[in-house]
Symmetry: C2
Amino acid sequence: MNSLAYALLSMLVRKPCSGYELKQLLEVFWQAKHSQIYPLLQKLEQDGLLTYELVGQSGKPDKKIYTLTDKGLSILKEWIAQSPAVPVIRDEFLVKVYAIWLTDIATAKKLFDERMRAINEKIAYREEELRKMRDTFGDSIEDIACTHFGRYILYQRRLRQEREEIEWCKWVMNLLEKSAFS
Amino acid sequence: MNSLAYALLSMLVRKPCSGYELKQLLEVFWQAKHSQIYPLLQKLEQDGLLTYELVGQSGKPDKKIYTLTDKGLSILKEWIAQSPAVPVIRDEFLVKVYAIWLTDIATAKKLFDERMRAINEKIAYREEELRKMRDTFGDSIEDIACTHFGRYILYQRRLRQEREEIEWCKWVMNLLEKSAFS
DNA sequence: CTAGGCATGTAACTCGTTACATGATTGG
DNA sequence: CCAATCATGTAACGAGTTACATGCCTAG
């Protein structure tokens, strides 16, 4: 049982899903390729944490809809109460930033410009998603018992982090400007 | 050549280091175990990006001090100008947060309390490190040409992100309190 | 006297990515 | 007609962790 396995259970506790659907939904907090998800779902099914049902579709391939079992639910609940592993962040941009003093100001600015553009796109997306959630669920979204509460507060977190990173980028850009005139 | 390899070159461009030292310094932007670092340094040396010198010490084991070659430097410079890969974040805490609606408020609060404590410790450490840097280098630390500029702005970034996460945790804790009384 | 820091290395394993493989439908 | 979306899978590889292995010094 690795973190990805628990991430899959966490998604399935809300509603039964296909592997394909899980892959999309998972992107909020855990990125994984389908080649890692499909075999893991099979393994979880063999271990009795999930069951699946083959659903035929017209004009689309068949799909396996996975459902959480009672065993799966109790294992998930146990895991949540345990203290989480230390987070891992791997961001090539930060490595480049560390070595930025090697390059000229134009290259440095380009690096930060691109980063800001990428983050601003994400911010627009998050704001849109949050707006949708509030439209659909109203105030109940801010209640812990709401099934979308977790997703809601995670989006809020991302948005805050991204806005803060924009502020930092601006601050660095300012230092670069100053360096250019000295 | 993977990201870790470039991370090592980025450290070595500032000054020659041993593998052991690199491991500590690397923690600002890339976490890796010594079992990954030592073989990679050997490989980079074989590829002619690094050279090393064996340094005997009294009362301590010998160490290999690695130095960047001209080839290593030019390869690093080329890499910096290319646009970075998308960042990867793997944080078990966020998975647990997603599924938090399953648990009781006490468990939820405990999860957030522990997170806040861990982050507050890091904040204190970063503030101390930044104070040291400013004491040692003065205003020159805010100039792109300073060899410690990259490290300085990375610490600033971390500090901002961590402070922002504390704010988010407080906001969530507030929602949990409200849920408890409804 | 023992826990932790210094210092390096290999072996076995798990985790994650890239590539290979298939095939129907829909929109531009 | 070509690209994208839906939908699932395996094989080979690369990245990263855990465990095994050694040995001396210092501080509590």
